[in-house]
Amino acid sequence: MRDLLTIENLRTHFFAPEGTIKAVDGVSLRVREGETVCIVGESGCGKSITALSVMGLAAGSSGKVVGGRIEFDGRNLLELDKNELRTLRGHEIAMIFQEPMSSLNPVLPVGEQIMEPLIEHLKLGKKAARARAIELIAQVGIARPEQIANAYPHELSGGMLQRIMIAAAISCSPKLLIADEPTTALDVTIQAQILDMLRRFKAESNMSILLITHDLGVVAEMADYVVVMYAGKVVEEGEVTELFSHPKHPYTKGLLRSKPILNHRQDELYAIPGQVPNPLELTVSCYFHDRCGQCMDVCRSREPRLREAGERHRVACWLYEEAVAYV
Protein backbone atom coordinates (compact mmCIF):
# COMPACT_ATOMS: atom_id res chain seq x y z
CA MET A 1 0.00 0.00 0.00
CA ARG A 2 1.23 3.43 -0.99
CA ASP A 3 1.49 6.24 1.55
CA LEU A 4 -1.21 8.81 0.92
CA LEU A 5 -0.61 11.20 3.79
CA THR A 6 2.64 11.53 5.70
CA ILE A 7 2.90 13.94 8.58
CA GLU A 8 6.41 14.45 9.88
CA ASN A 9 7.24 16.26 13.07
CA LEU A 10 4.26 18.58 12.73
CA ARG A 11 4.20 21.46 15.17
CA THR A 12 1.16 23.73 15.37
CA HIS A 13 1.33 26.37 18.05
CA PHE A 14 -1.11 28.99 19.31
CA PHE A 15 0.15 32.26 20.60
CA ALA A 16 -1.88 33.49 23.55
CA PRO A 17 -1.03 36.49 25.71
CA GLU A 18 -0.17 34.06 28.53
CA GLY A 19 2.32 32.16 26.42
CA THR A 20 2.68 29.70 23.59
CA ILE A 21 0.34 26.74 23.54
CA LYS A 22 1.98 23.85 21.74
CA ALA A 23 -1.26 22.21 20.65
CA VAL A 24 0.55 19.86 18.29
CA ASP A 25 4.19 19.34 19.11
CA GLY A 26 6.19 17.04 16.91
CA VAL A 27 3.49 14.69 15.68
CA SER A 28 4.32 12.20 12.94
CA LEU A 29 1.89 9.81 11.39
CA ARG A 30 1.07 8.24 8.10
CA VAL A 31 -2.09 7.15 6.34
CA ARG A 32 -1.78 4.63 3.54
CA GLU A 33 -4.14 4.27 0.62
CA GLY A 34 -7.41 2.63 1.61
CA GLU A 35 -6.42 2.57 5.27
CA THR A 36 -8.31 3.91 8.27
CA VAL A 37 -6.11 5.56 10.86
CA CYS A 38 -7.60 6.63 14.15
CA ILE A 39 -6.20 9.36 16.34
CA VAL A 40 -7.29 8.75 19.91
CA GLY A 41 -6.95 10.99 22.90
CA GLU A 42 -8.73 13.14 25.43
CA SER A 43 -10.17 16.57 24.70
CA GLY A 44 -7.43 19.11 24.15
CA CYS A 45 -4.72 16.61 23.25
CA GLY A 46 -4.27 18.18 19.81
CA LYS A 47 -6.00 15.60 17.65
CA SER A 48 -8.41 18.02 16.02
CA ILE A 49 -5.66 20.58 15.49
CA THR A 50 -3.58 17.91 13.75
CA ALA A 51 -6.47 17.30 11.37
CA LEU A 52 -7.13 20.99 10.81
CA SER A 53 -3.43 21.51 10.11
CA VAL A 54 -3.69 19.02 7.26
CA MET A 55 -6.62 21.00 5.89
CA GLY A 56 -4.69 24.23 6.24
CA LEU A 57 -7.44 25.51 8.53
CA ALA A 58 -5.61 25.48 11.86
CA ALA A 59 -3.92 28.78 11.20
CA GLY A 60 -6.23 31.52 12.38
CA SER A 61 -5.59 34.79 14.08
CA SER A 62 -3.50 33.16 16.79
CA GLY A 63 -2.50 29.72 15.50
CA LYS A 64 0.23 28.74 13.14
CA VAL A 65 1.95 25.65 11.81
CA VAL A 66 5.50 26.40 12.92
CA GLY A 67 7.29 23.34 11.65
CA GLY A 68 7.20 19.93 10.06
CA ARG A 69 6.05 18.44 6.79
CA ILE A 70 2.63 17.36 5.62
CA GLU A 71 2.97 15.35 2.45
CA PHE A 72 -0.20 14.39 0.65
CA ASP A 73 -0.06 12.35 -2.54
CA GLY A 74 3.44 13.54 -3.34
CA ARG A 75 2.95 17.23 -2.50
CA ASN A 76 4.07 19.09 0.59
CA LEU A 77 0.89 20.82 1.71
CA LEU A 78 2.75 23.35 3.81
CA GLU A 79 4.50 24.66 0.72
CA LEU A 80 1.38 25.04 -1.41
CA ASP A 81 -0.03 28.51 -1.81
CA LYS A 82 -3.47 29.29 -0.43
CA ASN A 83 -5.25 28.75 -3.70
CA GLU A 84 -3.62 25.42 -4.47
CA LEU A 85 -4.49 24.18 -1.01
CA ARG A 86 -8.04 25.41 -1.42
CA THR A 87 -8.51 23.40 -4.61
CA LEU A 88 -7.40 20.28 -2.70
CA ARG A 89 -9.84 20.89 0.13
CA GLY A 90 -13.23 19.37 -0.44
CA HIS A 91 -11.89 17.77 -3.59
CA GLU A 92 -9.05 15.41 -2.66
CA ILE A 93 -9.21 15.87 1.10
CA ALA A 94 -12.65 16.24 2.62
CA MET A 95 -13.59 16.71 6.23
CA ILE A 96 -16.61 16.14 8.43
CA PHE A 97 -17.03 17.53 11.92
CA GLN A 98 -18.31 16.73 15.35
CA GLU A 99 -21.41 18.92 15.50
CA PRO A 100 -23.56 18.38 12.41
CA MET A 101 -26.16 20.80 13.79
CA SER A 102 -23.82 23.75 13.73
CA SER A 103 -21.65 22.64 10.83
CA LEU A 104 -24.23 23.44 8.19
CA ASN A 105 -25.22 26.96 7.26
CA PRO A 106 -28.66 27.63 8.81
CA VAL A 107 -29.88 29.89 6.01
CA LEU A 108 -29.06 27.71 3.00
CA PRO A 109 -30.99 24.60 1.91
CA VAL A 110 -28.89 21.47 2.54
CA GLY A 111 -29.03 20.49 -1.12
CA GLU A 112 -27.30 23.71 -2.06
CA GLN A 113 -24.60 23.03 0.50
CA ILE A 114 -23.90 19.67 -1.11
CA MET A 115 -23.85 21.29 -4.55
CA GLU A 116 -21.13 23.79 -3.65
CA PRO A 117 -18.07 21.53 -3.88
CA LEU A 118 -19.46 19.96 -7.07
CA ILE A 119 -19.72 23.36 -8.70
CA GLU A 120 -16.41 24.56 -7.29
CA HIS A 121 -14.21 21.54 -7.97
CA LEU A 122 -15.89 19.43 -10.63
CA LYS A 123 -17.16 22.52 -12.50
CA LEU A 124 -20.65 21.08 -12.79
CA GLY A 125 -23.47 23.35 -13.87
CA LYS A 126 -26.23 24.15 -11.40
CA LYS A 127 -28.65 21.60 -12.80
CA ALA A 128 -26.13 18.77 -12.99
CA ALA A 129 -24.88 19.60 -9.49
CA ARG A 130 -28.39 19.50 -8.14
CA ALA A 131 -29.12 16.14 -9.76
CA ARG A 132 -25.87 14.78 -8.34
CA ALA A 133 -26.65 16.23 -4.90
CA ILE A 134 -29.98 14.42 -4.88
CA GLU A 135 -28.21 11.18 -5.85
CA LEU A 136 -25.76 11.71 -3.01
CA ILE A 137 -28.55 12.33 -0.52
CA ALA A 138 -30.11 9.04 -1.58
CA GLN A 139 -26.70 7.34 -1.30
CA VAL A 140 -26.30 8.37 2.33
CA GLY A 141 -29.57 6.64 3.07
CA ILE A 142 -32.06 9.47 3.29
CA ALA A 143 -35.54 8.88 1.89
CA ARG A 144 -37.30 11.45 -0.32
CA PRO A 145 -34.01 13.04 -1.42
CA GLU A 146 -35.70 15.63 -3.68
CA GLN A 147 -37.63 17.13 -0.78
CA ILE A 148 -34.74 16.87 1.65
CA ALA A 149 -32.53 18.80 -0.77
CA ASN A 150 -34.79 21.80 -0.26
CA ALA A 151 -34.90 21.45 3.52
CA TYR A 152 -33.03 23.75 5.84
CA PRO A 153 -30.73 22.35 8.53
CA HIS A 154 -33.10 23.14 11.41
CA GLU A 155 -35.73 20.92 9.83
CA LEU A 156 -33.54 17.79 9.97
CA SER A 157 -32.27 15.63 12.82
CA GLY A 158 -28.64 15.42 13.88
CA GLY A 159 -28.18 12.03 12.26
CA MET A 160 -29.62 13.27 8.98
CA LEU A 161 -27.42 16.35 9.08
CA GLN A 162 -24.32 14.24 9.58
CA ARG A 163 -25.40 12.20 6.56
CA ILE A 164 -25.73 15.44 4.62
CA MET A 165 -22.23 16.42 5.76
CA ILE A 166 -20.94 13.06 4.56
CA ALA A 167 -22.75 13.48 1.25
CA ALA A 168 -21.04 16.85 0.75
CA ALA A 169 -17.69 15.41 1.83
CA ILE A 170 -17.73 12.44 -0.53
CA SER A 171 -19.29 14.40 -3.39
CA CYS A 172 -15.97 14.87 -5.21
CA SER A 173 -14.67 11.36 -4.37
CA PRO A 174 -11.85 12.48 -2.09
CA LYS A 175 -8.76 10.33 -1.61
CA LEU A 176 -8.75 11.14 2.09
CA LEU A 177 -11.67 11.77 4.40
CA ILE A 178 -10.90 13.37 7.73
CA ALA A 179 -13.65 12.68 10.23
CA ASP A 180 -13.35 14.67 13.45
CA GLU A 181 -15.46 12.91 16.08
CA PRO A 182 -18.20 12.28 13.51
CA THR A 183 -20.47 10.35 15.85
CA THR A 184 -19.84 12.01 19.19
CA ALA A 185 -22.91 14.24 19.03
CA LEU A 186 -25.22 11.48 17.79
CA ASP A 187 -27.12 8.83 19.68
CA VAL A 188 -25.81 5.31 19.69
CA THR A 189 -28.02 3.69 17.05
CA ILE A 190 -27.29 6.50 14.62
CA GLN A 191 -23.57 6.21 15.43
CA ALA A 192 -23.49 2.64 14.19
CA GLN A 193 -25.28 3.59 10.97
CA ILE A 194 -22.92 6.46 10.28
CA LEU A 195 -19.84 4.31 10.91
CA ASP A 196 -21.24 1.55 8.68
CA MET A 197 -21.78 4.08 5.96
CA LEU A 198 -18.25 5.43 6.23
CA ARG A 199 -16.88 1.90 5.98
CA ARG A 200 -19.04 1.20 2.95
CA PHE A 201 -17.90 4.31 1.08
CA LYS A 202 -14.31 3.54 1.97
CA ALA A 203 -14.62 0.02 0.56
CA GLU A 204 -16.34 1.23 -2.59
CA SER A 205 -13.87 3.94 -3.49
CA ASN A 206 -10.57 2.93 -1.83
CA MET A 207 -10.74 6.15 0.13
CA SER A 208 -8.49 6.54 3.19
CA ILE A 209 -9.98 7.77 6.44
CA LEU A 210 -8.29 9.72 9.20
CA LEU A 211 -10.71 9.30 12.05
CA ILE A 212 -10.42 11.36 15.17
CA THR A 213 -12.18 10.07 18.22
CA HIS A 214 -11.99 9.56 21.94
CA ASP A 215 -14.27 6.56 21.76
CA LEU A 216 -12.34 3.29 21.79
CA GLY A 217 -15.46 1.44 20.67
CA VAL A 218 -15.34 3.43 17.45
CA VAL A 219 -11.62 2.71 17.15
CA ALA A 220 -12.14 -1.02 17.52
CA GLU A 221 -14.83 -0.95 14.88
CA MET A 222 -13.12 1.26 12.31
CA ALA A 223 -9.38 1.46 12.64
CA ASP A 224 -6.61 -0.36 10.85
CA TYR A 225 -3.98 1.64 12.65
CA VAL A 226 -4.22 3.67 15.85
CA VAL A 227 -2.29 6.71 17.00
CA VAL A 228 -2.68 7.66 20.66
CA MET A 229 -2.04 11.32 21.43
CA TYR A 230 -1.47 13.03 24.73
CA ALA A 231 -0.81 16.74 25.28
CA GLY A 232 0.19 17.40 21.69
CA LYS A 233 2.43 14.38 21.26
CA VAL A 234 2.08 10.83 20.00
CA VAL A 235 2.60 8.50 22.96
CA GLU A 236 1.87 5.20 21.29
CA GLU A 237 0.88 3.89 17.89
CA GLY A 238 0.27 0.52 16.35
CA GLU A 239 -2.06 -1.71 14.41
CA VAL A 240 -5.42 -1.93 16.04
CA THR A 241 -5.31 -5.60 17.06
CA GLU A 242 -1.78 -5.28 18.40
CA LEU A 243 -2.54 -2.10 20.30
CA PHE A 244 -5.72 -3.46 21.86
CA SER A 245 -4.14 -6.78 22.85
CA HIS A 246 -0.72 -5.49 23.91
CA PRO A 247 -0.98 -1.87 24.99
CA LYS A 248 2.36 -0.61 26.26
CA HIS A 249 1.97 2.99 27.38
CA PRO A 250 0.32 3.43 30.79
CA TYR A 251 -1.96 6.04 29.19
CA THR A 252 -3.18 3.62 26.52
CA LYS A 253 -3.67 0.97 29.17
CA GLY A 254 -5.66 3.45 31.23
CA LEU A 255 -7.82 4.38 28.26
CA LEU A 256 -8.55 0.72 27.57
CA ARG A 257 -9.37 0.07 31.21
CA SER A 258 -11.76 2.98 31.39
CA LYS A 259 -13.86 1.65 28.53
CA PRO A 260 -17.09 0.04 29.73
CA ILE A 261 -17.58 -3.54 28.62
CA LEU A 262 -21.02 -4.76 27.61
CA ASN A 263 -22.65 -7.27 30.00
CA HIS A 264 -19.84 -6.73 32.44
CA ARG A 265 -21.18 -4.89 35.47
CA GLN A 266 -18.64 -3.09 37.56
CA ASP A 267 -19.31 -1.15 40.73
CA GLU A 268 -17.09 1.62 39.55
CA LEU A 269 -15.72 2.32 36.12
CA TYR A 270 -12.00 2.96 36.05
CA ALA A 271 -10.93 6.51 35.34
CA ILE A 272 -7.39 7.75 34.80
CA PRO A 273 -6.67 9.93 37.85
CA GLY A 274 -5.91 13.61 37.44
CA GLN A 275 -6.41 15.90 34.51
CA VAL A 276 -4.74 16.79 31.25
CA PRO A 277 -1.87 19.15 32.12
CA ASN A 278 -2.20 22.86 31.44
CA PRO A 279 -0.48 23.33 28.08
CA LEU A 280 1.12 26.56 29.33
CA GLU A 281 2.87 24.85 32.23
CA LEU A 282 4.54 21.96 30.46
CA THR A 283 8.21 21.40 31.21
CA VAL A 284 10.60 18.86 29.71
CA SER A 285 9.25 15.56 30.98
CA CYS A 286 6.89 12.80 30.03
CA TYR A 287 3.70 14.89 30.05
CA PHE A 288 1.77 11.98 31.49
CA HIS A 289 4.01 11.56 34.54
CA ASP A 290 1.76 13.11 37.19
CA ARG A 291 -1.14 10.83 36.26
CA CYS A 292 0.94 7.71 35.76
CA GLY A 293 0.93 4.84 38.26
CA GLN A 294 4.41 3.74 37.19
CA CYS A 295 6.08 7.13 37.24
CA MET A 296 9.85 7.10 37.76
CA ASP A 297 12.29 9.90 38.46
CA VAL A 298 13.40 10.10 34.86
CA CYS A 299 9.81 10.68 33.70
CA ARG A 300 9.75 14.01 35.53
CA SER A 301 12.85 15.45 33.94
CA ARG A 302 13.32 13.91 30.52
CA GLU A 303 11.09 13.38 27.54
CA PRO A 304 10.82 9.82 26.23
CA ARG A 305 11.35 9.25 22.50
CA LEU A 306 8.96 7.30 20.34
CA ARG A 307 10.68 3.97 19.72
CA GLU A 308 9.90 0.60 18.17
CA ALA A 309 8.11 -1.77 20.51
CA GLY A 310 7.18 -4.50 18.08
CA GLU A 311 5.93 -5.04 14.55
CA ARG A 312 4.46 -1.65 13.46
CA HIS A 313 4.12 -0.69 17.12
CA ARG A 314 5.85 2.27 18.69
CA VAL A 315 5.67 3.76 22.16
CA ALA A 316 7.13 6.76 23.93
CA CYS A 317 7.62 5.67 27.52
CA TRP A 318 10.63 5.35 29.81
CA LEU A 319 9.40 1.94 30.97
CA TYR A 320 10.54 0.53 27.65
CA GLU A 321 13.80 2.45 27.27
CA GLU A 322 17.01 0.58 27.93
CA ALA A 323 18.54 3.95 28.70
CA VAL A 324 16.65 4.01 31.99
CA ALA A 325 19.15 1.57 33.37
CA TYR A 326 21.90 4.12 33.03
CA VAL A 327 20.11 7.14 34.41
Binding site: S61, R89, H91, E99, P106, V107, Q113, P117, Y152, A168
Partner: protein
Protein backbone atom coordinates in the same frame (compact mmCIF):
# COMPACT_ATOMS: atom_id res chain seq x y z
CA UNK B 1 -48.37 33.80 7.45
CA UNK B 2 -51.85 35.31 7.02
CA UNK B 3 -52.80 34.44 10.60
CA UNK B 4 -49.60 36.13 11.71
CA UNK B 5 -50.38 39.20 9.62
CA UNK B 6 -53.94 39.50 10.91
CA UNK B 7 -52.76 39.28 14.49
CA UNK B 8 -49.99 41.78 13.93
CA UNK B 9 -52.30 44.27 12.17
CA UNK B 10 -54.75 44.03 15.06
CA UNK B 11 -51.97 44.80 17.52
CA UNK B 12 -50.91 47.67 15.31
CA UNK B 13 -54.33 49.32 15.55
CA UNK B 14 -54.38 48.99 19.34
CA UNK B 15 -50.86 50.35 19.67
CA UNK B 16 -51.62 53.31 17.44
CA UNK B 17 -54.80 54.19 19.34
CA UNK B 18 -52.94 54.09 22.63
CA UNK B 19 -50.02 56.04 21.22
CA UNK B 20 -52.22 58.78 19.76
CA UNK B 21 -54.08 59.21 23.05
CA UNK B 22 -50.82 59.42 24.94
CA UNK B 23 -49.31 61.90 22.50
CA UNK B 24 -52.45 64.04 22.50
CA UNK B 25 -52.62 64.17 26.30
CA UNK B 26 -48.93 65.03 26.61
CA UNK B 27 -49.24 67.96 24.23
CA UNK B 28 -52.47 69.11 25.86
CA UNK B 29 -51.11 68.94 29.40
CA UNK B 30 -47.92 70.80 28.60
CA UNK B 31 -48.40 74.29 30.12
CA UNK B 32 -49.41 77.02 27.67
CA UNK B 33 -51.10 76.78 24.30
CA UNK B 34 -51.13 78.42 20.89
CA UNK B 35 -52.92 81.49 22.22
CA UNK B 36 -51.01 82.13 25.45
CA UNK B 37 -47.74 82.87 23.68
CA UNK B 38 -49.14 85.91 21.88
CA UNK B 39 -48.64 88.87 24.25
CA UNK B 40 -50.45 91.35 22.00
CA UNK B 41 -53.84 89.83 22.77
CA UNK B 42 -56.11 91.03 25.55
CA UNK B 43 -57.40 88.38 27.98
CA UNK B 44 -60.90 88.79 26.49
CA UNK B 45 -59.62 88.19 22.98
CA UNK B 46 -57.67 85.15 24.22
CA UNK B 47 -60.77 83.62 25.77
CA UNK B 48 -62.65 84.31 22.58
CA UNK B 49 -59.98 82.65 20.43
CA UNK B 50 -59.83 79.63 22.80
CA UNK B 51 -63.58 79.32 22.35
CA UNK B 52 -63.19 79.46 18.55
CA UNK B 53 -60.34 76.91 18.42
CA UNK B 54 -62.00 74.68 21.02
CA UNK B 55 -58.99 74.88 23.33
CA UNK B 56 -61.21 75.36 26.41
CA UNK B 57 -62.86 71.97 26.03
CA UNK B 58 -61.79 68.90 28.09
CA UNK B 59 -58.80 66.99 26.69
CA UNK B 60 -60.78 63.81 26.01
CA UNK B 61 -63.39 65.66 24.02
CA UNK B 62 -60.70 67.40 21.99
CA UNK B 63 -59.03 64.06 21.39
CA UNK B 64 -62.29 62.53 20.21
CA UNK B 65 -62.83 65.39 17.79
CA UNK B 66 -59.29 65.06 16.45
CA UNK B 67 -59.65 61.30 16.13
CA UNK B 68 -62.95 61.59 14.26
CA UNK B 69 -61.35 63.83 11.67
CA UNK B 70 -58.17 61.78 11.51
CA UNK B 71 -60.22 58.71 10.62
CA UNK B 72 -61.54 60.61 7.65
CA UNK B 73 -58.00 61.41 6.58
CA UNK B 74 -58.15 64.99 7.81
CA UNK B 75 -55.30 65.94 10.13
CA UNK B 76 -56.58 69.47 10.56
CA UNK B 77 -55.38 72.91 9.76
CA UNK B 78 -52.10 74.35 10.99
CA UNK B 79 -52.85 77.29 13.27
CA UNK B 80 -49.56 79.04 12.60
CA UNK B 81 -49.11 78.35 8.90
CA UNK B 82 -52.77 78.62 8.00
CA UNK B 83 -52.52 75.63 5.68
CA UNK B 84 -53.83 72.06 5.95
CA UNK B 85 -51.37 69.86 7.86
CA UNK B 86 -51.24 67.31 5.07
CA UNK B 87 -50.36 69.98 2.51
CA UNK B 88 -47.53 71.15 4.76
CA UNK B 89 -46.28 67.60 5.18
CA UNK B 90 -46.27 67.14 1.46
CA UNK B 91 -44.29 70.35 1.08
CA UNK B 92 -41.60 69.57 3.64
CA UNK B 93 -41.36 65.82 4.17
CA UNK B 94 -39.98 65.01 0.74
CA UNK B 95 -37.08 67.40 1.29
CA UNK B 96 -36.25 65.57 4.50
CA UNK B 97 -36.75 62.24 2.82
CA UNK B 98 -34.30 63.17 0.09
CA UNK B 99 -31.54 63.87 2.63
CA UNK B 100 -32.37 60.85 4.76
CA UNK B 101 -32.70 58.40 1.87
CA UNK B 102 -29.42 59.36 0.25
CA UNK B 103 -27.47 59.43 3.53
CA UNK B 104 -29.05 56.15 4.72
CA UNK B 105 -28.07 54.52 1.45
CA UNK B 106 -24.46 55.67 1.78
CA UNK B 107 -24.37 54.85 5.49
CA UNK B 108 -25.39 51.24 4.86
CA UNK B 109 -23.22 50.82 1.81
CA UNK B 110 -20.08 52.16 3.49
CA UNK B 111 -20.82 50.51 6.85
CA UNK B 112 -21.27 47.08 5.26
CA UNK B 113 -18.09 47.37 3.20
CA UNK B 114 -15.94 48.71 6.04
CA UNK B 115 -17.54 46.38 8.58
CA UNK B 116 -16.83 43.34 6.42
CA UNK B 117 -13.21 44.27 5.75
CA UNK B 118 -12.60 45.23 9.39
CA UNK B 119 -14.11 41.98 10.63
CA UNK B 120 -12.25 39.89 8.11
CA UNK B 121 -8.95 41.54 8.99
CA UNK B 122 -9.70 41.79 12.70
CA UNK B 123 -6.98 43.59 14.69
CA UNK B 124 -5.08 44.51 11.52
CA UNK B 125 -3.86 48.09 11.07
CA UNK B 126 -6.87 48.74 8.83
CA UNK B 127 -9.28 47.53 11.50
CA UNK B 128 -7.59 49.60 14.21
CA UNK B 129 -7.48 52.72 12.05
CA UNK B 130 -11.12 52.38 11.05
CA UNK B 131 -12.22 51.89 14.63
CA UNK B 132 -10.30 54.95 15.82
CA UNK B 133 -11.75 57.11 13.04
CA UNK B 134 -15.23 55.76 13.67
CA UNK B 135 -15.12 56.42 17.39
CA UNK B 136 -13.85 59.90 16.58
CA UNK B 137 -16.70 60.54 14.16
CA UNK B 138 -19.28 59.12 16.57
CA UNK B 139 -18.03 61.28 19.43
CA UNK B 140 -18.25 64.56 17.52
CA UNK B 141 -21.57 66.35 17.98
CA UNK B 142 -23.42 66.93 14.71
CA UNK B 143 -23.60 70.70 15.20
CA UNK B 144 -19.84 70.86 15.58
CA UNK B 145 -18.91 68.71 12.61
CA UNK B 146 -21.61 70.40 10.53
CA UNK B 147 -20.42 73.91 11.29
CA UNK B 148 -16.79 72.84 10.93
CA UNK B 149 -17.38 71.49 7.44
CA UNK B 150 -19.34 74.61 6.47
CA UNK B 151 -16.42 76.74 7.65
CA UNK B 152 -13.82 74.73 5.73
CA UNK B 153 -15.60 73.64 2.57
CA UNK B 154 -18.16 76.39 2.08
CA UNK B 155 -16.70 79.53 3.61
CA UNK B 156 -12.93 79.09 3.23
CA UNK B 157 -12.60 76.99 0.10
CA UNK B 158 -15.98 77.92 -1.41
CA UNK B 159 -16.39 74.43 -2.83
CA UNK B 160 -19.96 73.89 -1.77
CA UNK B 161 -22.88 76.12 -0.76
CA UNK B 162 -23.19 76.58 3.03
CA UNK B 163 -26.91 75.93 3.27
CA UNK B 164 -30.37 75.90 1.76
CA UNK B 165 -31.68 73.64 -0.93
CA UNK B 166 -31.39 76.05 -3.87
CA UNK B 167 -29.32 79.14 -4.46
CA UNK B 168 -31.31 82.19 -3.39
CA UNK B 169 -33.27 83.59 -6.31
CA UNK B 170 -32.52 80.60 -8.46
CA UNK B 171 -35.12 79.54 -10.98
CA UNK B 172 -33.19 76.64 -12.49
CA UNK B 173 -35.17 73.81 -14.01
CA UNK B 174 -34.42 70.30 -15.28
CA UNK B 175 -30.80 69.14 -15.13
CA UNK B 176 -29.58 72.46 -13.75
CA UNK B 177 -32.11 72.23 -10.90
CA UNK B 178 -31.05 68.68 -10.16
CA UNK B 179 -27.36 69.65 -10.07
CA UNK B 180 -28.07 72.58 -7.81
CA UNK B 181 -29.94 70.41 -5.32
CA UNK B 182 -27.17 67.80 -5.39
CA UNK B 183 -24.57 70.49 -4.66
CA UNK B 184 -26.62 71.81 -1.76
CA UNK B 185 -27.32 68.43 -0.24
CA UNK B 186 -23.73 67.18 -0.39
CA UNK B 187 -22.63 68.68 2.91
CA UNK B 188 -25.63 67.65 5.01
CA UNK B 189 -25.50 64.15 3.50
CA UNK B 190 -21.80 63.87 4.32
CA UNK B 191 -22.40 64.91 7.92
CA UNK B 192 -25.39 62.58 8.37
CA UNK B 193 -23.45 59.69 6.84
CA UNK B 194 -20.40 60.37 9.00
CA UNK B 195 -22.54 60.34 12.12
CA UNK B 196 -24.56 57.27 11.20
CA UNK B 197 -21.76 55.14 9.87
CA UNK B 198 -20.01 54.48 13.18
CA UNK B 199 -22.51 52.46 15.13
CA UNK B 200 -23.63 50.51 12.08
CA UNK B 201 -20.06 49.59 11.14
CA UNK B 202 -19.40 48.39 14.68
CA UNK B 203 -22.61 46.43 14.59
CA UNK B 204 -21.83 44.71 11.30
CA UNK B 205 -18.20 44.12 12.25
CA UNK B 206 -19.25 42.56 15.58
CA UNK B 207 -21.88 40.32 14.01
CA UNK B 208 -19.57 39.20 11.26
CA UNK B 209 -16.74 38.39 13.68
CA UNK B 210 -19.16 36.18 15.61
CA UNK B 211 -20.39 34.50 12.46
CA UNK B 212 -16.87 33.89 11.14
CA UNK B 213 -16.18 31.80 14.24
CA UNK B 214 -19.13 29.53 13.54
CA UNK B 215 -18.67 25.89 12.59
CA UNK B 216 -20.45 26.30 9.26
CA UNK B 217 -17.84 28.81 8.13
CA UNK B 218 -15.15 26.21 8.84
CA UNK B 219 -17.25 23.73 6.85
CA UNK B 220 -17.49 26.14 3.93
CA UNK B 221 -13.71 26.52 3.97
CA UNK B 222 -13.22 22.77 4.33
CA UNK B 223 -15.26 22.38 1.15
CA UNK B 224 -12.63 24.42 -0.64
CA UNK B 225 -14.86 27.37 -1.45
CA UNK B 226 -13.23 30.63 -2.45
CA UNK B 227 -12.83 33.08 0.43
CA UNK B 228 -15.08 35.54 -1.40
CA UNK B 229 -17.85 32.95 -1.40
CA UNK B 230 -17.26 32.01 2.22
CA UNK B 231 -17.46 35.64 3.21
CA UNK B 232 -20.35 36.90 1.12
CA UNK B 233 -22.50 33.82 0.65
CA UNK B 234 -22.04 32.06 3.97
CA UNK B 235 -20.98 34.70 6.48
CA UNK B 236 -22.47 38.02 5.46
CA UNK B 237 -25.99 36.74 5.05
CA UNK B 238 -25.99 35.37 8.58
CA UNK B 239 -24.33 38.48 9.93
CA UNK B 240 -26.89 40.80 8.34
CA UNK B 241 -29.93 38.90 9.64
CA UNK B 242 -30.04 40.74 12.97
CA UNK B 243 -29.61 44.02 11.09
CA UNK B 244 -33.09 43.55 9.64
CA UNK B 245 -34.40 44.87 12.94
CA UNK B 246 -32.50 48.08 12.26
CA UNK B 247 -34.08 48.39 8.82
CA UNK B 248 -37.44 48.66 10.57
CA UNK B 249 -36.16 51.47 12.74
CA UNK B 250 -34.84 53.34 9.71
CA UNK B 251 -38.34 53.85 8.31
CA UNK B 252 -39.51 56.61 10.68
CA UNK B 253 -36.13 58.33 10.51
CA UNK B 254 -36.39 58.43 6.72
CA UNK B 255 -39.44 60.68 6.98
CA UNK B 256 -38.88 62.20 10.39
CA UNK B 257 -36.32 64.77 9.33
CA UNK B 258 -33.38 65.83 11.40
CA UNK B 259 -33.80 68.75 13.76
CA UNK B 260 -30.15 69.72 14.08
CA UNK B 261 -28.86 69.03 10.59
CA UNK B 262 -31.77 70.82 8.93
CA UNK B 263 -31.28 73.79 11.22
CA UNK B 264 -27.52 74.01 10.56
CA UNK B 265 -27.79 73.66 6.81
CA UNK B 266 -31.01 75.64 6.63
CA UNK B 267 -32.64 72.75 4.82
CA UNK B 268 -36.40 73.21 4.28
CA UNK B 269 -37.30 69.91 5.92
CA UNK B 270 -39.98 68.65 8.25
CA UNK B 271 -37.59 68.71 11.22
CA UNK B 272 -37.29 72.48 11.08
CA UNK B 273 -41.02 72.88 10.64
CA UNK B 274 -41.66 70.63 13.64
CA UNK B 275 -39.25 72.59 15.80
CA UNK B 276 -40.94 75.85 14.85
CA UNK B 277 -44.40 74.44 15.53
CA UNK B 278 -43.29 73.16 18.89
CA UNK B 279 -42.35 76.64 20.00
CA UNK B 280 -45.70 77.94 18.85
CA UNK B 281 -47.78 75.03 20.20
CA UNK B 282 -49.27 74.48 16.79
CA UNK B 283 -51.27 71.47 18.01
CA UNK B 284 -52.67 70.10 14.76
CA UNK B 285 -49.25 70.04 13.14
CA UNK B 286 -47.49 68.60 16.19
CA UNK B 287 -50.16 65.95 16.57
CA UNK B 288 -50.17 65.06 12.89
CA UNK B 289 -46.41 64.76 12.71
CA UNK B 290 -45.99 62.71 15.88
CA UNK B 291 -48.76 60.34 14.91
CA UNK B 292 -47.23 59.99 11.47
CA UNK B 293 -43.93 58.98 13.09
CA UNK B 294 -45.79 56.55 15.35
CA UNK B 295 -47.49 55.00 12.32
CA UNK B 296 -44.17 54.70 10.50
CA UNK B 297 -42.52 53.13 13.55
CA UNK B 298 -45.23 50.53 13.83
CA UNK B 299 -45.13 49.82 10.11
CA UNK B 300 -41.32 49.63 10.30
CA UNK B 301 -41.38 46.95 13.00
CA UNK B 302 -44.05 45.04 11.13
CA UNK B 303 -41.97 45.29 7.99
CA UNK B 304 -38.84 44.01 9.72
CA UNK B 305 -40.80 41.08 11.17
CA UNK B 306 -42.01 40.19 7.69
CA UNK B 307 -38.52 40.61 6.24
CA UNK B 308 -37.17 38.32 8.95
CA UNK B 309 -39.56 35.62 7.86
CA UNK B 310 -38.44 36.00 4.29
CA UNK B 311 -34.73 36.00 5.08
CA UNK B 312 -34.42 33.49 7.91
CA UNK B 313 -35.78 29.99 7.28
CA UNK B 314 -35.72 29.25 10.99
CA UNK B 315 -38.28 31.95 11.73
CA UNK B 316 -40.37 31.17 8.67
CA UNK B 317 -42.05 28.05 9.97
CA UNK B 318 -42.76 29.02 13.54
Amino acid sequence: MSAFLTKRLLYTVVILLAASLLIFSLYAWTPGDFISGNIKLTPERKAELREIYGLNKPVLERYATWMKHAFHGDLGYSLAQQKPVLTLFNEYIWNSFLLAAVSTFFTWLIAVVIGVVAAYKQYSWFDTLVMVVIFGAMSLPSFFIGLFLIKILAVDWKLLPPGGMLTTGSNATGIAYFREVVRHMTLPVVVMTLLGIGSLTRYIRGNLIDVLKQDYIRTARAKGLKERKVLFKHALRNALLPAITLVGFELPSLFGGSLIIEKIFNWPGIGQLYMQSFGLRDYPLLMGFTVLIAILTVIGTLLSDILYRVADPRVRLQ
